[in-house]
């Protein structure tokens, strides 16, 4: 594991002009589940259709999971009241863990005004609204427009009490667009024997489909189950009958090769925004330099905590987690596994030296046994 823990893994990659690391920030609190990202990604990369045209039995998600042909996947989770409370509880537990707050020092009264500049952060809110894991009594500081100034006799006499959570307390519908994480320590990249997977000058991880021989090790190497070998890569978007042949500009078979999101490496080289980030109507998918994405993420989660939504948490923004932090940072509203994400992923390469040591001992043991067997066997 020679890559240094610095956020930008391209540092050791000897690129003549390394760029700042690019990445996503997916804010699932404003995702409207429209799947524009799925279609834009498929349309740009000309990925084949990945479905048997049947309802999968998972609310509005008929795509299933990320795979060789689906590099963006929108998850839909319908939750009732107790799941919401459980999520708020686990979110609050995270806050109470006294996570080292990356950014403004814990103690200082951080009256940082968020980019929107409309929500001043009071000291109480900055320290996490429920100290000591107690119920979030204050129900989140009343967001400014609740205690609206009852202007010129228009509003009723008493300013309206801050309803605890303006959100519907009894039901919510989580939507989140999942994508390759482009990890700092990428399991797939490490185990790839042919060098098909490589770290680009933007710090992203891309498969070279002209090199990959489809050995499939990377599929097992990814702790998030993102990459997959395309088993039937016949490209033309399948149609029910033997439809007229697809115009030749779109027929690119990528049979038998590992495939995953390239963070639109081709677009990125021409300073274009990746197809999914450009298409996303509510910019739930934000694209930019990784550091600014992480900063926006922290700002956003702080803002949500002030609104009493303690279930908000970041996923992948911590540089010293099991994969060294990810290129795509997520803001989730529940435990990662609810979205089908691993709760504590760890790049397998982290234990590789130990594995080689154990294997070495085994090899020595085998040779020793062989030698002993022959030494003692001399008699008969």
């Amino acid at each position: 594991m020679t890559a240094d823990p610095a956020a930008n893994p391209t540092a050791d990659a000897h690129y003549d002009h390394p760029h700042p690391r690019k990445g996503f920030f997916t804010d699932t609190s404003i995702c409207i589940g429209c799947k524009a990202c799925e279609v834009a990604c498929k349309e740009w990369n000309r990925n084949p259709v990945d479905s048997d045209y049947e309802l999968l039995g998972s609310s509005y998600d008929n795509t299933g999971a990320l795979g060789a042909n689906t590099w963006r996947h929108v998850a839909f989770i319908e939750q009732g009241a107790e799941q919401i409370d459980r999520a708020r509880e686990s979110g609050r537990a995270l806050v109470d863990l006294g996570m080292p707050r990356v950014g403004p020092p814990e103690g200082a009264a951080s009256s940082k005004t968020t980019s929107q500049g409309t929500i001043p952060v009071t000291q109480a809110a900055a320290a996490g609204c429920g100290s000591g894991g107690g119920g979030c009594g204050c129900g989140g500081s009343p967001s400014p427009e609740d205690s609206a100034d009852s202007s010129d006799g228009q509003g009723p006499e008493s300013p309206v009490a801050a309803s605890v959570h303006p959100d519907t307390p009894d039901f919510r519908w989580l939507m989140s667009s999942d994508v390759c994480k482009h990890c700092t320590h990428a399991g797939c990249l490490d185990v790839c024997p042919t060098g098909a997977l490589f770290r680009t000058e933007y710090g992203t991880v891309v498969v070279q489909d002209d090199v990959c021989n489809g050995c499939g090790t990377c599929v097992a190497g990814c702790p998030f189950g993102v990459i997959e070998r395309r088993s039937d890569g016949v490209f033309e978007p399948k149609n029910q009958r033997d439809s007229p042949p697809v115009p030749d500009t779109v027929k690119v078979p990528q049979h038998g090769v590992a495939q995953k999101c390239t963070l639109c490496y081709d677009r990125m080289k021409n300073d274009q925004t990746p197809a999914c980030a450009q298409a996303c109507p509510t910019t739930s998918i934000k694209y930019g330099d990784h550091d600014s994405m992480a900063a926006t993420a922290r700002e956003r989660v702080a803002q949500l905590h002030e609104q009493g939504k303690t279930e908000a948490r970041l996923y992948g923004a911590n540089p010293n987690d099991g994969v060294g932090g990810t290129g795509s940072v997520f803001l989730l509203l529940d435990e990662p596994e609810t979205y089908g994400l691993p709760p504590d992923p760890r790049v397998p390469t982290a234990d590789l030296p130990y594995m080689f040591k154990r294997a070495g001992m085994a090899v020595a043991g085998m040779l020793a046994v062989g030698a002993v067997a022959f030494a003692s066997g001399g008699r008969r």
């Binding site: 042919t194 190497g221 702790p223 038998g256 987690d321 504590d344 066997g377």
Partner: protein, 366 residues
């Protein structure tokens, strides 16, 4: 499922579109599409204690078919055979040496063919030699296999030349072959052991829950399994007079495997051990244990009688194969249920939190 009497009008519900390529099963567990295999469990209400996304897998099993399982076995067999071959050469057991060298080469070449055929793009198998990546067990393994196969090849070539009484049109090469025979055999023997062990690292260095959890002890299991396989093969093919060391080698292998397998299961997170004990892998592994014991017993008691040795040799070979396939399939099964991915990670996270390390979780509040 539905109770209306018009149901019998349901047109035959063949899937809407036949999928070209290798049948309907897709590596990424298309079982979940049918709502499990037949059992109509309600995806609406996941089990209370741990949530998952409609029961769908979180990580993906590698798209490896049975050929890779076979390669695991053949690689170990080849490695073990080279060691026995070199030992036989040193201690003057010509028959054992010849059989072992030939079997080492056949096993290695069969293994290579199996590997290449499992590739998505077999025609690009040479790309394995593109880089030497210390972080990739398969990259190092490919180089190791290349080195081993060439050396085992030279040793075996010499053997074949000797068997055909120098009729082969080698001409000037013959002295060269004679000269390099011994170092080649030595090289094959030395790299034989790593060839058996590296496949264990290949499996463990993945995110597949069961394989990853085995990474402490799997090398010992595979090495022992290789030894007993090679010993078994020796007993099967070579007259009893020369196979004394092979028998001890095999017995050591059996002992090693039993101990290692037991220790491994102890050290793994109990949840992740389940795939090893359920379904097909479960039966295979229990049978591999029985055959190993039977083989060992046969070796100890009737080791000197030819047919008993041959019989126990086959038992040992079968046991080694079953171990490899059992471990291989257990890993692939452990991916299907997200429980095996989530719960061990939850336990690991909780342990770290309990130990006061709070800054290394992927989920953060700030």
């Amino acid at each position: 499922m539905s109770v209306s009497e018009y149901d019998n009008y349901r047109p035959p519900e063949e899937p809407r579109r036949k999928r070209k390529g290798k049948g309907r099963r897709r590596a990424s567990g298309s079982a979940f599409r049918r709502g499990g295999d037949g059992s109509r469990e309600m995806p609406m209400v996941p089990e209370p204690e741990f949530t998952s996304y409609y029961g769908r897998p979180i990580v993906k099993a590698p798209p490896w078919e049975t050929q890779i399982g076979a390669y695991l076995f053949l690689g170990g067999l080849a490695g073990g055979s080279s060691i026995l071959a070199f030992g036989a050469e040193l201690t003057g057991r010509p028959l054992l040496r010849r059989n072992m060298r030939l079997s080492a080469l056949t096993a290695a070449s069969l293994g290579t063919v199996a590997l290449v055929s499992d590739l998505g793009r077999p025609e690009r198998f040479l790309n394995m030699m593109r880089t030497i990546k210390p972080t990739s067990p398969m990259s190092l393994g490919s180089w190791l296999l290349a080195y081993y196969a060439s050396h085992a090849g030279f040793a075996a070539a010499a053997e074949v030349d000797r068997m055909t009484h120098a009729k082969l049109p080698l001409g000037p090469l013959r002295p060269v072959l004679r000269f390099i025979e011994r170092p080649a055999a030595a090289g094959a023997a030395v790299t034989g052991a790593p060839l058996a062990a590296y496949t264990a690292v290949l499996l463990s260095d993945t995110a597949v829950p069961t394989w990853n959890a085995m990474h402490k002890d799997l090398p010992f299991v595979f090495v022992s399994s290789a030894s007993l396989a090679a010993g078994g093969l020796a007993m099967l093919t070579t007259p009893v007079t020369e196979t004394k060391p092979a028998r001890t080698f095999a017995l050591a292998g059996v002992a090693g495997e039993l101990v290692a397998m037991h220790l491994m299961k102890q050290r793994m997170d109990p949840v992740v051990v389940e795939p090893l004990e359920q379904g097909r892998p479960g039966t295979w592994l229990t049978w591999s244990e029985r055959l190993a014991l039977a083989g060992a017993a046969g070796t100890i008691l009737g080791g000197r009688r030819r047919w008993v040795a041959a019989l126990s040799g086959t038992a040992l070979i079968a046991s080694s194969a079953l171990t490899r396939f059992g471990v291989f399939q257990a890993g692939k099964d452990s991916v299907k249920d997200p429980k095996y991915t989530v719960e061990p990670q939850r336990n690991r996270l909780a342990k770290r939190r309990a130990a006061g390390i709070v800054d290394d979780s992927i989920t953060t509040a700030g």
